[in-house]
Symmetry: C2
Subunit: 192 residues, 2 copies
DNA sequence: GTTGACAGACCGTCCGGTCGGTATAGTGTC
DNA sequence: GACACTATACCGACCGGACGGTCTGTCAAC
């Protein structure tokens, strides 16, 4: 056959299909049969690769945790060294100039989050580990205490807004938000 | 009979029980039977008051939206007038001195959020309306653009962290976070 | 002929929702 | 005040469908 889209291995296709289902039709639509159909395999085929629904979700989360870790590290590495480096990376991560990529990542993460959390909150363990590492990196960033965490919390907040579809900031609002948070990267105002 | 705890009306008891189930055992444990048992009525009794599961969730959300609106307005009213009043209220709301009350509200909101969202994201409509009003109030607050929204986003972020159990800031971290965000309430630093 | 990679019929359970019933309180009416 | 009727609040057996998971079968490749 001519190599088309389904040339990737079944495992990956199943994970992609599961993610797509949650994104488009919600957590409650993620059934084994639906994921199998989306990946072009039968239910039995899916269960051959993932022995249970929990295994499927674990696979989804593992992939995402790994990707988060790598992507975050890469973003930090792309920032110039010096105090606030990690915080700047955080802002670049959350407010990158190309919103499409941010939204893509955001939506995928949201889908995996919700699906795993609904099945069993304990499944979020790998994500918690990544977040803990991020928080540690932010805290040891050379900024005054709390500043990095404030930026991170704000990033989480707009993530959540998107997760639940609470609101979508306009481009201008995003820029203003970015500018406001950037103040936290500067040294505290002098007392003049 | 001596008026004891179950003196409240069944409707309220059912809503309370549903909330409690989601908080203690997760969204997937919220079944009509479980909620009925928790409220001390039968499944038929529950369905007498809430004709469907969706009606139950709508009731839960309506109650919470109403409470959010009232509580937020009261917090704003408790702040001194002037620029940044709404933003200060936001901070007081998210970082009140008594974490127990914040956590209580936070956990209840989280439970309702998740349950409704899982059933049908469209159910969050009333919450979206409240959030939209809050954002409008924050934007017309007299602060430089973006500053209020940054504070609000940070509050949302720590809410989400608690929602998913990602991390729990220590008391010191909360104070530092508060101090950092408080900088956004001050006029931008002078250029000295 | 053995193994890896599936297919798909089937089963048990669970859950939302229906429905016929019941106890109690209130209301008209003679 | 006895009786019929109605409405409210609730009970719980039952149904139908969906879903996770099992199991047997298939089939090409080595």
């Amino acid at each position: 056959m001519p190599d088309g889209l389904p040339s990737t291995d079944s495992r990956t296709r199943i994970l992609d299909a599961a993610e797509a289902i949650v994104r488009s039709r919600g957590v409650s639509a993620l059934t084994l049969e639906a994921a199998a159909r989306g990946a072009g395999v039968s239910k039995g085929g899916l269960l051959y690769h993932f022995a249970s629904k929990e295994a499927l979700l674990t696979g989804l989360l593992g992939r995402m945790a790994e990707w988060m870790q790598h992507d975050f590290e890469a973003t930090v590495a792309s920032q110039p060294e010096g105090p606030g480096r990690v915080a700047r990376a955080m802002m670049a991560w959350a407010f990158a100039l190309t919103p499409e990529r941010v939204h893509e990542r955001c939506d995928r993460a949201a889908a995996v989050f919700l699906a795993a959390f609904h099945h069993d909150p304990a499944l979020l363990g790998p994500i918690r580990a990544v977040v803990t590492r991020m928080r540690a990196a932010v805290a040891a960033d050379g900024l005054p205490p709390g500043h990095g965490h404030a930026i991170m919390a704000a990033g989480d907040g707009i993530f959540m807004a998107r997760l639940f579809g609470l609101y979508t900031p306009t481009e201008q609002e995003r820029r203003d938000l970015h500018a406001a948070l950037a103040r936290l990267l500067e040294p505290p105002s002098c007392a003049c």
